[in-house]
């Protein structure tokens, strides 16, 4: 019954979204009415309404696009590795999708209603160009929905042999439909940022070719950036789900399972985060090349302080991600030997955050400005430029990877004869990478900007190559390694779970902030230098009001996600009933921290 309700809700959401699109498309494409509709709800104007609807639609969409990507990988690990616990985990991830999917559709429908009623002329303009792609979008949405239903509800029916492979292929299809859907929607929004060359305010929308409109300068960078970011976001939200379930669990078995799930979610999020700056760099470069004005507005002008806020958020991500790993080492026998290194890694991270958070132009009063001889600090200004910040972030990525490596190796002793040489090689790779990063960071101060921009590519490549090289050695070296003891899953202090929750909230806030940056750099244009915003909101909001709207979005999102988490708990309540009964019958609910618990069996989950 519950499943039927979930399926019904999702179907209704999809139908609602399709209906909204079907009604809005033909009617409003020809609407000759006013340019803007009236809206005022609790002080929220039309732009605020569209902003919130679009942001919430995007957050849920990112989740439902990100989770299937790693769910299908985890299913494959279970299928080809023969370990059923991975299969069960993949299914548990997928369960979260069902309600989130309908929420995506509902917010999408609200967004379409808002756009078509509050911005009728602009919506008519967009539909005049993109209508065919909108129909394809709606069709793919149907395909994606029903593939998701087949994927989830067919999980147990198609569990063995060839049927399992077919089921796995359904997961792949789900990803393909979702990715195309996202690519299409990205075409619409990137057109607003970077319309094709040659378009002017006088160009009739009917004369704009559909493919040239979609395949604009920032389309593919946004596609790649969002693909990666969706994985990061999906991992963080399932990590938060696991943390919630961990904190509300009543049995050791339940705690062990959700501890493992939280670790997996965090690993996915942080792993994908490491490559995200590459995609972000490409996007930023394309924006700059498309329009110098847009690029400077984003990086050096009006929005330059937004990057200080971003630096803080990224700092929180790095610190919380590492903290979770360090605290998790407390439940791994043998991790004690790595404890002395933690303070030095933390020092690198704290110095990295300090460098990244150092503003180029400082908030200062008149006396402070007079003392500095300007708005830049004579000494700290060396930390305010990209050379310093790129160096800092690359060293932070290396440090995070080192934390992960220690965590991975904590309870293992390699038995291969070349273990010592391999470890030294890994150390040399780390050192070499750090030297490359610092060298190009320092050298960047002595070359022109155009040369310096290229240095960041060398820095990131050095770090990524080190990660691949070191992990390759590690995998070979730990084959058949001697174990110092099983990981005591579930033996985590509660504060570790708050780190997972903080990660999810920070990622969500960060997505809101970066969305504001991407959209805000158009300034007073609906379509940059083609369709001017003539409403009373034809200005870019300052950071304060923008932060308020972003926070509202984050609160609504986590309110709804909290409901989804609660539903997820309802669905699994019976699973742990037996174990809970044992606890109530007199067993200890939480074993002492030193008492080992086997790895989660998950035999009866779901």
């Amino acid at each position: 019954m519950k499943r039927w309700v979930a399926r019904g809700a999702a179907t209704r959401g999809v139908l609602l979204a399709a209906l909204a699109l079907a009604v809005a498309l033909p009617l409003l494409a020809q609407a000759p009415g006013p340019d803007y509709g009236e809206f005022n709800f609790l002080g929220l104007d039309r732009r605020g309404a569209v902003w919130i609807a679009a942001q919430l639609h995007l957050l849920f969409a990112a989740f439902v696009l990100g989770v299937p990507m790693f769910a299908v990988v985890i299913e494959a690990i279970g299928m080809f590795g023969g370990d059923e616990k991975y299969d069960k985990l993949a299914k548990e991830f997928t369960r979260l999708l069902l309600v989130a999917y309908s929420a995506t559709a509902i917010w999408g429908a609200i967004l379409v209603f808002f756009l078509s009623t509050l911005y009728p002329r602009f919506w008519a303009y967009l539909t005049a160009i993109f209508a065919p792609s909108m129909w394809v979008y709606a069709g793919l949405f149907f395909l994606e929905s029903f593939t998701l239903y087949l994927y989830y509800y067919g999980w147990d029916a198609w569990k063995k042999g060839a049927a399992k492979k077919v089921h796995w292929c359904l997961g792949i299809m789900l990803n393909i439909w979702g990715t195309i859907v996202m690519f299409i929607a990205n075409g619409w929004l990137t057109y607003m940022m970077s319309p094709p060359e040659g378009l002017t305010v006088d160009t009739a929308p009917q004369t704009v070719q559909l493919w040239s409109a979609i395949n604009n300068a920032t389309w593919m960078p946004i596609n790649i950036h969002r693909l990666l970011a969706n994985v990061v976001f999906g991992g963080a939200v399932v990590g938060a789900y696991a943390a919630y379930r961990f904190l509300t669990s009543r049995t050791d078995e339940e705690r062990a399972h959700y501890d493992w799930m939280g670790y997996t979610g965090n690993l996915i999020a942080i792993g994908a985060l490491i490559v995200l700056p590459f995609a972000g760099y490409w996007l930023g470069r394309e924006i700059y090349e498309f329009s110098q004005q847009m690029g400077i507005t984003m990086m050096g002008g009006f929005m330059s302080w937004l990057w200080i806020i971003q630096a803080f958020l990224i700092g929180i991500l790095f610190l919380a991600g590492n903290y979770y790993l360090w605290i998790g080492m407390g439940r791994i026998p043998g991790a004690e030997r790595f404890q002395p290194y933690i303070k030095w890694m933390l020092l690198v991270l704290v110095l990295g955050v300090i460098v990244w958070a150092t503003p180029n132009t400082m908030i200062a009063d008149r006396d402070e400005i007079a003392a500095m001889g300007g708005i830049r600090h004579p000494f700290l200004q060396v930390l305010g430029v990209m050379s310093a910040k790129n160096t800092a972030v690359n060293l932070m990525i290396l440090t995070t990877f080192l934390s992960f490596l220690m965590y991975r190796r904590a309870n293992k002793d390699p038995v291969v004869p070349w273990a010592r040489a391999g470890t030294m090689l890994q150390g040399a790779a780390f050192a070499l990478s750090a030297v490359v990063v610092v060298f190009y960071g320092v050298y960047g101060y002595f070359v022109t900007a155009i040369v310096r921009i290229g240095f960041s590519v060398y820095q990131v490549l050095a770090v990524l190559a080190t990660i691949l090289f070191v992990i390759g050695i590690d995998m070979a070296m730990l084959r058949g390694a001697k174990s110092r003891g099983e990981i005591r899953w579930g033996r985590m202090p509660d504060r570790s779970q708050y780190a997972l929750l903080i990660l999810a909230v920070t990622f969500t806030w960060l997505m809101g902030l970066m969305g504001f940056a991407r959209s805000g750099i158009r300034q007073h244009w609906h379509v940059y230098e083609v369709i001017r915003d003539t409403s009373e909101q034809a200005f870019t909001p300052a950071l304060g009001p923008a932060a308020t709207i972003i926070s509202i979005c984050v609160l609504i999102f986590f309110g709804l996600v909290g409901f989804i988490f609660w539903l997820g708990g309802l669905a699994e309540r019976s699973v742990y009933r037996e174990a809970e009964a044992k606890v109530r019958a007199g067993h200890e609910g939480r074993a002492p921290l030193g008492d080992p618990l086997p790895a989660p069996s998950l035999g009866d989950v779901d």
Partner: protein, 265 residues
């Protein structure tokens, strides 16, 4: 003493104090003494740094269960132990008083201009007008590189700079001209690595042509005293003074991406 130094709580306290001393006094006052260019760090930045340090200390202390227990022990003891009643009483009065004083310091009326955040290099327009003539800024190069004698251009630039720019930007090009102390914001320091090397010559051209009155919306507050020099100087005068600025400071202007590297405009 050794007992205190090995205790996590006091280690944390020492790091907090040492960090504050480093940010406030070492950077602000000790570095200039040994000849390194520096100045007191603005309070907004000190606050940022100290928050980061504090978070780092708390993370370190709580990353290990045993260390966390030891870190919390003196706090807990002060809050509950009978023999610490005097200290507890002092803290219960002192903490609200300090918080109240900090709150008062923040909200008390002041005649000082509020701390401001200006976009020092606001985004330029794609095109500008010079006495009615439209000039495309994107991709614009200094025409004097291709014509005439560079020595003559530099001599002309020097002459124009001394006649028009020295009173504010100074004879050392460091923004310390005779009028500079009267201005807020202070005139641009051309010797700073944060100015000329970050900008294309076309950007500098735009700023000289349009000055403070031509700052875009994001350049608020519009209180720059820089005149719009298009009413006084010819285009080539401005290009010449730009050549002079880069020549004197030794900086290289930012350049446009080569065509074929994906340049859109």
């Amino acid at each position: 003493m050794k007992r205190y130094l090995s205790h996590p709580f006091w280690q944390g306290a020492i790091v907090v104090v040492a960090s504050y001393v480093a940010f406030e006094y070492v950077i602000g006052y000790a570095l200039p003494v040994i000849g390194v260019a520096s100045a007191p760090v603005p309070s907004s930045v000190i606050l940022e740094y100290m928050l980061i340090v504090l978070v780092g200390i708390l993370l370190y202390m709580s990353a290990d269960e045993e260390r966390w227990q030891r870190f919390r022990e003196p706090i807990r003891a002060t809050m509950v132990r009978r023999d610490r009643r005097t200290l507890r009483g002092i803290l219960m009065v002192a903490i609200p008083v300090v918080i109240g004083w900090l709150a008062y310091e923040r909200v008390k009326p002041s005649y000082a201009a509020p701390a401001t955040l200006r976009a020092v290099h606001p985004a330029p327009p794609n095109q500008l007008t010079f006495r009615g003539e439209t000039i495309e800024l994107t991709g614009l190069e200094n025409p004097l590189h291709e014509e005439g004698s560079m020595a003559e251009h530099l001599a002309a630039g020097k002459r124009i700079y001394v006649r028009n720019c020295v009173p504010c930007h100074g004879d050392l090009l460091d923004g310390q001209g005779h009028y500079a102390p009267a201005f807020n914001p202070v005139p641009a320091d051309f010797t700073s690595s944060g100015n000329l090397p970050q900008l294309t010559e076309s950007y500098v051209f735009w700023r000289i042509v349009k000055g403070g009155p031509g700052l875009p919306r994001e350049g608020t507050p519009w209180d720059s005293a820089m005149p719009a020099w298009e009413q006084v100087l010819e285009q080539n005068d401005i290009w010449a003074v730009i050549l002079y600025l880069y020549d004197q400071t030794g900086f290289t202007p930012r350049t446009w991406e080569e065509e074929g590297e994906g340049g859109h405009e």
